[in-house]
Symmetry: D3
């Protein structure tokens, strides 16, 4: 997906140029994992033009595998981003309808082949939101992944402006989520998708307590008993430049809480959840059995994402680990 962002907090009505980069939920997770050194394949459908080609090149640049990308369709999805400031929120204009991936159809991707050597499949709630075809493709993938015993993770990622193809998230998502081993949501997703509210629901007040989300986790676990881990990212929006950032992980028995980071001078918060997911998958594959460490890695990794322009989280494992140790001082490394 092409991301066109207004530079330096400009409003849409002011821009003479857009900063161009590429991103999108699943791609962002793939880039995170590739950055952390894991072999990764990104599966999508791209239009056969120079923009589609540029997406491919950008993925390669970040060592993300592109062997299963298929070509076709008319256009590359776009999102326009106006970066807010203080009490002026950022705005996103989606222009994704009729994109190559939105016009995907059942059977276009050979999932059996895709999953031949795969151990993990990740999808987000954005894909089924785009179109009926994308929703079906998603379902096919989950079914085959499940059949092959591949771990399936999902990020609920609710976007109200995307669900326009006829069905609502609450109609579609349960069927897809029911086969997922790992479920990630932000502090609002569970409510917006499944109607599951935290005890303290006002996310715009800038304080988000982890403990309030234990009931959410438990209700999700009850609804999706196959889920091995349920994770909630916790963003406290002090204002558009200053967020708190944390998360909780529920393993069916215990709630792990991560430290809360003060992100006082946000550079770019888009992709925050994706970078969390990237950190989480890396952690689950690396720190087996140490869920606290897994969670802490995911939160620290995505905390750093907020300091980086673009959708992608361009940090190394050692940078994340440095932050996990508690060094938030940002002292110059020289």
């Amino acid at each position: 997906m092409l991301r066109l962002a207004t530079p330096e907090h400009q409003r849409f009505s002011q821009v003479a140029s857009f900063c161009a980069s590429f991103g999108g939920g699943e791609a962002n997770v793939a880039v995170s994992l590739a950055n952390f050194g894991l072999p990764t394949e990104f599966v999508t459908r791209l239009p056969q033009n120079d923009l589609g080609q540029s997406v491919l090149m950008e993925l390669k640049r970040h060592s993300v595998g592109t062997n299963h990308i298929i070509w076709g369709g008319e256009r590359l999805g776009i999102y326009f981003l106006e970066t807010g400031s203080v009490s002026r929120p950022s705005k996103v204009i989606y222009d994704r309808a009729h994109s190559s991936i939105a016009e995907i159809e059942s059977g276009m991707i050979e999932w059996e082949k895709v999953f031949k050597e795969a151990a993990w499949f990740h999808w987000t709630g954005i894909t089924p939101a785009i179109s009926r075809g994308a929703s079906v493709a998603c379902q096919e993938a989950i079914a085959i992944a499940k059949k092959k015993g591949i771990t399936v993770s999902c990020d609920l990622n609710f976007r109200k402006n995307l669900w326009k193809w006829g069905k609502s998230a609450s109609e579609v998502m349960p069927e897809l989520v029911k086969d997922c081993d790992i479920i990630l949501g932000n502090e609002e997703d569970a409510e917006k998708v499944f109607g599951i509210k935290p005890d303290d629901a006002d996310v715009s007040r800038g304080e988000v307590k982890g403990a309030n989300y234990e009931p959410v986790c438990k209700k999700l676990k009850k609804q999706f008993p196959q889920a091995k881990k349920i994770i909630i990212t916790l963003r406290g929006s002090i204002n558009a430049d200053h967020n708190t950032w944390s998360g909780v992980l529920y393993d069916g028995e215990k709630l792990f809480e991560a430290p809360v980071y003060q992100i006082t001078h946000i550079v770019d918060r888009v992709g925050g959840g994706d970078s969390f997911m990237g950190g989480l998958i890396y952690g689950l594959l690396t720190y087996h059995g140490d869920d606290q460490r897994v969670l802490n890695f995911a939160v620290a990794a995505s905390c750093l994402k907020h300091t980086i322009h673009g959708d992608f989280n361009l940090v190394s494992v050692s940078e994340v680990e440095q932050l996990m140790k508690g060094d938030t001082s940002g002292r110059v490394v020289r």
Copy 2:
């Protein structure tokens, strides 16, 4: 329409930012006319978001009337432009499908009201190319304009990559053109739309002789006898930075030829034909009966367009007239 151009001759695969401006065939003509001081209304359909709003603001900035613009639809049309150089051609990627104007439907615009105080209606071949709905809207407009005795002009403006909605240009255009008083085409349009070739057809050789287009004009006149003037713009492509530029006007009896300009250091050639049309309409409304002057004004105005970034021709009548006098020296004015 949003125009996203790569800066400074960069290729699509190189860009970190796109220069953003607004343009499009009919809008460009409207801006030219408004710049020349004529009251002008631009009729279109825009999406109700910040991009649609920005189009509106930009039109107002150039004193183009926006009273008849209607709101609705999902997206603003986009075109991506990679500016070529020397023997590397510029490339355009259209992303206009499903735009608000493409999804216009019969009856959405109240043409009777639009034309209440109008004396001239201009449309281009791009509009019927976009979608069946746009084609129908165009037909409605022409019919009502005709009925009201309004002068109708068209720019054939053939774009092979746009005609994708089911009918071809040669099926649709004759019906629309047959009621036009003024027909403009470039050195290829007549052939591509109506199969009418000039005597010397190789436009890529860099030499385009006006006289060769007399037969084209005559055949067009024969096919569209109602046309009062037939005009052909003549671009000789020495290379992507150096074009020659001229035009001929046929009034049914006589072929007027304009001087040929050497445009040796093109800044931006997109919108060249539209600026020609703007100059032509201004000329026809101003220099009644002096077709040579009309043609010369149109060619000089559009010659200057090639020196200006963006789709719009930001020149004044006095600047055009200065060039018409033969002063191509570009000496500093201070």
Copy 3:
């Protein structure tokens, strides 16, 4: 007026380019009102060159009426802005002497005609500061507005570096203010123009309490008994990047206090007072009789201005109302 700002906190001695935009006290108010949907005319005098023309275009872009602008004079006023940071203050270099508006003379503007359909006239203390001629023009306008029963508002807007034409603010302003219905000042203006001090005068300490300004309001009311509302904007300067922002409104009987906003990451604070005035006039014309709401709208509107580059406050009524509801979280809208 042309605004030439150093980019990205650069000092004047560092710049290789200036960000160019247009602004100025009354123009900023006009743009605010036009943005909020009110019909607005901006009255000024511009030089007949491309810079004057660009001002006109920019006003049109923002739907501000330009019917009463007159042309003449030698130059467009300029101000140079160096944006400060933390404890380094922003600096303004005025270069407005001898501008077209400064060289305006009595009778040049036909105020009778200007006010034909007007309901409100707004002026600021900057205009009489520029030159004797501008001061006289201002006086003429107020007199005629008064005569026609038009509401007159003024922003005291004291700028010590502008009052250089022979008379001081304290000599000139009382005569002009005495006919105003609405008087706005910032936390320093009343003192600098009329010698009226708040109880707690140290504005550089970063704490500005609304209650301290009740005596100021009362003294102003006493000196200018015709004034229906007296409003003081309250800026607490924690540092150049972090201000608090609020205001009080005194209706002759009661002091209304607005909530205090923490503006922790200022993008551009120039035009803050003008955007307050724009919000105030909109509020007074819209929320008749609800002065608390009027004040809150004005404060919220101008709070948002601090997040926007340039002099103009590019926000919509709905964005202001969203903030008035108390949502300062800046969460992404998508």
Copy 4:
């Protein structure tokens, strides 16, 4: 003087930023001479603000002496530059009225002290054009220089938009020029200032023959018999991007003609004449008696200026000499 240029051929109405640099006739000559290694002092009057300070810093950067600069006045002169292209001319908007140098008065500069160790004094026709005071200061300087036996050179530099203070160039200049040892003009100056026309007067045709200017030189010599050298720069304007460039030098007996350079891709032609003068003074001080070489150096130096952004000619003696040898190939030096 502050120069504010539109970037990349943009029109004034398009700019969001201006490229800022410093320049001005005499300053440009001083920088050329300092670059060539000659000790140079620039005498002017600057306002005591950050812009004046920046001028000082920029002169120091180029090793131009600033010992005799005086401080005072209200503003720094500005000129706005819109760079043209092909047949669209560049435009200059002067905003120099009321600048510190324009408001200079007789006696402000201690010329006796300035000239204590000086061997050469150079002035241009721009200075007396700005204001009566500047004209008088110029006259004082010439008189004292003359008295001290210092060589005086002048560049006629006629700018019709500057002569606005009451007297015309033809009234003022003869008195100033009559004491000059070296007189430089471009292909139009002699006519515009003294009414002396070349045989072939149409400079906008792109062909400028040196021989045609012999009568001009002779008539100038006749009118100003004290002049030891009369030099005419010869610019042929093919178009705004492509000029020819040459010059002639008349020593009272013989006309020397320089080779004609084809400058096919002009980067920035402003300051061309000043860089010629810089080369000329360097040549006269260095290549004593070899007027052909002097002329060739001046033409080559100023030919290179056209390839450099800004007013200043940032080339070294060895670069000029390389071009004088006839190597116009522009092959990469590595």
Copy 5:
């Protein structure tokens, strides 16, 4: 190698920023080949820091294999580029001494492993110029490639400012070239490296005739009888913006001459020779036996390079073939 280029024809003394990209002789050839769809591995030594990492990412972006890159050493080589204009030449400042590749030592690269599945090895005269170690590594590679029956090509690429480690090009190169199957040089290399002059040696005059280089080819063939093809690129430097471009290929019997392209508005000529080599290798591997076509492909490919910023030639086979057909018109593709 990091390339730091001054933007928009600025001189080194003017820059406030450098355009950063990556390049270098052999890397450029590898990118060309990968763009044309051939599997390619780039072998080098990079420092273990973020700059070295960025080189790796950029190669991956262009689908160049990086399996044999080794890590170590202190720094990444840099070259600074000042882009000239008209008669002002471009300047290169090399800062490559002590780079990771310069400090390579014999045995560091396992050439046996590198060449396991290779069919072609290409090196340039820049590598042995950098340091004794690089020269030895080059020699090792050639020897092993030869032993394995791999085709070896070299670009003589003489750079006088690089040969500083103790031996001269004429001492080192013959030993390396003697085992090469394909030898490429520009119009000066043969003379500067082997003392072999063309009949008409003045390359700065802007005319370079192919036939004049037949004797050069024959003498090279005589000195290096194993060479199957000898190719000379022919650049005529009209000026820094306008070159002619062509080449000849000698197969030991016959001289093939390519058409001469007029490159009238050069965007970036660095990497021209490398893009020629890339085209040549592609041609030799693809158009077996049709040396005229091979040569024409190489010349057309590298002609297009001159229109692209950076060292890399970002064109496709179909774009090159379009130009080979003779279409130099640069007409917009839409």
Copy 6:
């Protein structure tokens, strides 16, 4: 030294351009002093190319004397800077090995001549870190300065990545520091160079108490009894955007503590220590005997540095004094 910084918090792997400026420990101090109006000479060795020339010009621009700079060597030292944000630290990549100054040799600089009219000599721990030659040159300078009774100051400035020429800081520095009158270090230097720890050593926690450094000062005084003043800069790193900033000065008897500044929105913290040193030397030369004022000036001056892009502290004495008075409000000056 050339500084190449990534723009706007970009990571190294993202940049398409580097912001270029010049800096370096001793140069930064010299610029500070010249800005404050003191005559200053900067002594170094620069390569004879356009980059070396640009350093010279930049120093002149800031009125720093360049009479004792010598020319020679191969390259200009470079450092690459990636500016961090929040909990992502800034990163510096040094590329200074083999620079002209690194390859300086004993005797190259004529220190006797350099110090002829000097009253103060300042050096930093970076110079002896670069190379054996630079270390020796430093030693020579100190010896001769001492002999001539010139005050010698040093900034310990420990950079672990620079000490690579064979000896460690702890081996070399004591010998150099033992003759210094003024010793400055940051909160870590004393430990890293001499093993002297503060009572509370964790500088990454964001709180740095002045009192904790009294023992450090005393131990330094004991080890270097000749030192008249020992000064420690105290940086509390809340995060990469928010630091606290202060310092202590020990005169052998008493510890002076400065106020602590909250620098909440850092623009550029590189050169912070150097600007402290510049303020300190200015203070010591100006406020004789008032060590509290000296310290306060140094802290306030360097506090302002954090708001300025580049290595240089571009502030005036009056700006520093304004801040010393306690006005941290950053209110607009107009």
